[in-house]
């Protein structure tokens, strides 16, 4: 059995160990149930808002406003004698709204800010506006002309549909984050579990640490990608259904499938996931007790860098964005994001990808080296100084 076959054996083993169709399906079902609860819950809440809510209106408000309010609300008119009693009731029952005139305009009394306040304000504003128009002898159309904004048209010379490309950029960055989280969980539980179950000595006697580490990184990367693909398919199906429900039609998602952007993101995302999985493997190899290790927090570092790359969206041509798009810990999402948002020369993209791939190449060697020298360490965790010492020892 040659090297590649052995790596493939470990890759398949790790993939089958962690990627469970049953778990994915449970996750999808939970997601669908939550989406359904959200969807129908919103419909229910909105349908409740369609019903007329009741407000109390003081006699002193006048017929004109009361009529306007009654178009939207169930209005109950109260006289001056009832006022104190009604305010007392509102205070006791903590519900009800009373609208009346005040010295400077209008007064709304309720236990706390009522849900109807915006609507009430709109009706009262309209009433005040109508009064002012009469006062200044203006018609509605005159008023609208006076308040009209400057006519502005836009023309962009870039041919691509930028909005769709930006959407793809953010979706892929989300995928990268998702795959990073998966890799974090699996490398962490995988390697520390093997160390705790004392399997590593057996493994090192059976296969070269580099082969084993390569297989592990590839297997867990595949696991992460499989989850991403599963959720992407579900997302596309969900999106299609959404567009059909909202009447936009299936063609509405086609502009989002911008092939060059997707291909660029695929190669960068893949290299990024591989690089971070190598990083996770190296850190997990040092950890002896995952529950009490100070080094566990390092596993969250990739999330920080992935989020940092979103800063590119602020100004893709700034010096900071250029740095982030070349720096291998952020370039996996930062460079494609710049590619989407600005114009790049081909060698910038290729160079950044090369640096990212080289980082993956060295991280995997580092991971195998750390694993090789730390497999028999149990109990006290090595310090960083000891880890560097081990790396350069015989």
């Amino acid at each position: 059995m040659n090297t590649l076959q052995k790596i493939l054996t470990v890759t398949i083993w790790e993939y089958q160990r962690f990627f469970k169709i049953k778990n994915e399906l449970i996750g999808i079902v939970v997601m669908i149930v939550m989406a359904a609860i959200g969807f129908f819950g919103t419909i229910y809440l909105l349908s409740e808002n369609d019903e007329k809510q009741s407000v109390m209106v003081h006699q002193n408000l006048g017929n004109a406003i009361t009529e306007k309010l009654s178009d939207t609300f169930e209005v109950k008119i109260i006289n001056a004698d009832e006022k104190e009693n009604k305010i007392h009731q509102i205070n006791e029952s903590r519900e009800g709204v009373l609208i009346e005139r005040s010295e400077n305009g209008f007064l709304v009394t309720s236990w706390k800010e009522p849900g109807q306040l915006d609507k009430i304000r709109e009706i009262l504003n309209n009433y005040a506006l109508d009064n002012n128009l009469v006062l200044y002898d203006l018609s509605r159309s005159d008023f609208e002309q006076i308040t009209q904004t400057a006519p502005l048209e836009t023309q962009y010379l870039r041919e691509d549909s930028e909005r769709q490309r930006n959407t793809v950029a953010f979706i892929f960055s989300g995928f990268l984050l998702m795959a990073i989280f998966q890799g974090f969980a699996y490398q962490f539980t995988g390697i520390t579990g093997e160390k705790q179950q004392k399997i590593t000595e057996q493994i090192v006697s059976a296969i070269k640490p580099q082969m084993w580490m390569d297989g592990k990184i590839l297997g867990i990367t595949l696991t992460g990608l499989s989850s991403v693909v599963t959720y992407t398919i579900i997302g596309v199906l969900g999106g299609t259904l959404y567009f059909q429900f909202t009447g936009a039609g299936i063609s509405s998602i086609l502009p989002y499938l911008h092939l060059p952007t997707i291909l660029l993101y695929l190669v960068f995302t893949l290299a990024g996931i591989l690089m971070w999985n190598s990083f996770f493997a190296a850190i997990a190899s040092i950890i002896t007790d995952p529950n009490n290790s100070g080094k566990s927090s390092l596993m969250f570092l990739p999330t920080l860098f992935a989020l940092l790359s979103f800063l590119v969206a602020r100004d893709p041509d700034s010096a900071g964005a250029i740095f982030l798009s070349w720096f291998p810990l952020t370039s996996a999402s930062a460079m494609p994001m710049r590619w989407v948002m600005t114009d790049l020369l081909w060698y910038e993209t290729a160079g950044s990808w090369l640096v990212l791939s080289l980082t993956f190449y060295f991280f995997r060697i580092l991971a195998a080296r750390i694993f090789r020298v730390s497999i028999l360490i149990s109990g006290k965790e090595p310090t960083w100084q000891e880890v560097f010492g081990m790396l350069f020892s015989k």
Partner: protein, 314 residues
């Protein structure tokens, strides 16, 4: 033509405060059962890990000759290794783990499965093949671990403490298995501290204590050189050993085995009559047993002689 398949030359290994292996040298002949014996912490496992290239020696060399073109660590398919620290995937089915470990050692999946089933039948655990390892008893887990070490038919098997964790019945079964492996041509290096078991199968032995060689050679040689003693075991009344003169004449060694049991080792050239006269001077003896020294007795005797000075303990 040399039939040495492994040569270990003057290896040394120091850890922070312990000199674990001190100038250890030995060789293993093709097809033999070579026993590496010593008490806990003697340096056996460290030596084995150096041989297996899991850790590196500070000095000295390890040469393999399992295939002609290399002196480095042989291909994993040629080596079987049962580590002292047992461990397999507890949450996965037994058969799946065994096939995987055989595959990464170079065996084909189908062959690995067939061979694994054959071994599991022999060890009476075939019906547990699809169960998760954690569902098996400790003893059965040990059996699975053993299978994983020899499933791929290695030319050389390194078995570190193969008998630990087994009851006497299973220990006997593993004695048979080890002898069968030898018959099939597998060279075996056995590391253990159960000397009464090892002396039944080993061709040659290496006794190690505190990292250094105590004896190295054929089993018959150690009996010839160091086994020429009577071992007398005395059991006393009232669960208490009376005062024993420190210098019982002609006694090579006096070992207190328990609160009421004493072992006295005499040279074989001392007459039994003289021994009985010596013993008659000791009060409270309830029971006397005598036997020729076994490996265990010889080892204890040798260790006593070879006790290191304080300067050896770094």
């Amino acid at each position: 033509m040399s039939t040495k398949v492994l040569e270990v030359n003057n290896i040394n290994k120091k850890f922070k405060t312990v000199h674990a292996v001190k100038d250890v040298s030995f060789s293993v002949e093709k097809g033999e059962i070579f026993a590496f014996l010593g008490p806990n912490g003697a340096g056996k496992t460290t030596t084995l890990r150096i041989m297996m290239d899991i850790i590196h020696a500070d000095s000295g060399s390890v040469r393999w000759n399992l295939h002609n073109n290399s002196e480095n660590i042989p291909l994993p398919s040629m080596l079987g290794y049962l580590p002292e620290e047992r461990g397999l995937y507890l949450d996965l089915p037994v058969i799946k783990t065994l096939v995987y470990l055989a595959k990464i050692r170079g065996m084909k999946g189908f062959d690995a499965k067939q061979e694994a089933m054959k071994w599991m039948e022999r060890l009476d655990i075939a019906d547990r093949a699809k169960e998760k390892l954690q569902a098996l008893s400790k003893g059965n887990q040990q059996k699975v671990q053993f299978i994983s070490a020899i499933l791929h038919k290695p030319k050389f098997a390194v078995l570190d403490e193969p008998f630990s964790g087994f009851d006497p019945v299973n220990q006997e079964m593993f004695i048979d298995i080890i002898q069968d492996l030898k018959k099939q041509g597998t060279t075996i290096l056995l590391s253990a501290h159960q000397m009464q078991l090892v002396e039944r199968v080993a061709d040659r032995i290496f006794l190690i204590d505190q990292g250094r060689e105590i004896f190295y050679g054929k089993l018959s040689d150690i009996y010839n050189q160091h086994g020429n003693q009577y071992t007398i075991q005395l059991t006393f009344n009232n669960g208490e050993i009376p005062h024993i003169p420190q210098n019982i004449s002609d006694a090579e060694n006096i070992i207190k085995e328990s609160n009421d049991r004493l072992k006295i080792i005499f040279r074989k050239d001392i007459s039994l009559q003289k021994i009985m006269t010596t013993l008659s001077g000791i009060d409270g003896i309830m029971n006397i047993k005598t036997h020729n020294s076994n490996l265990h007795d010889i080892f204890l005797n040798l260790v006593k002689r070879e006790k290191p000075t304080q300067t050896d303990l770094l």
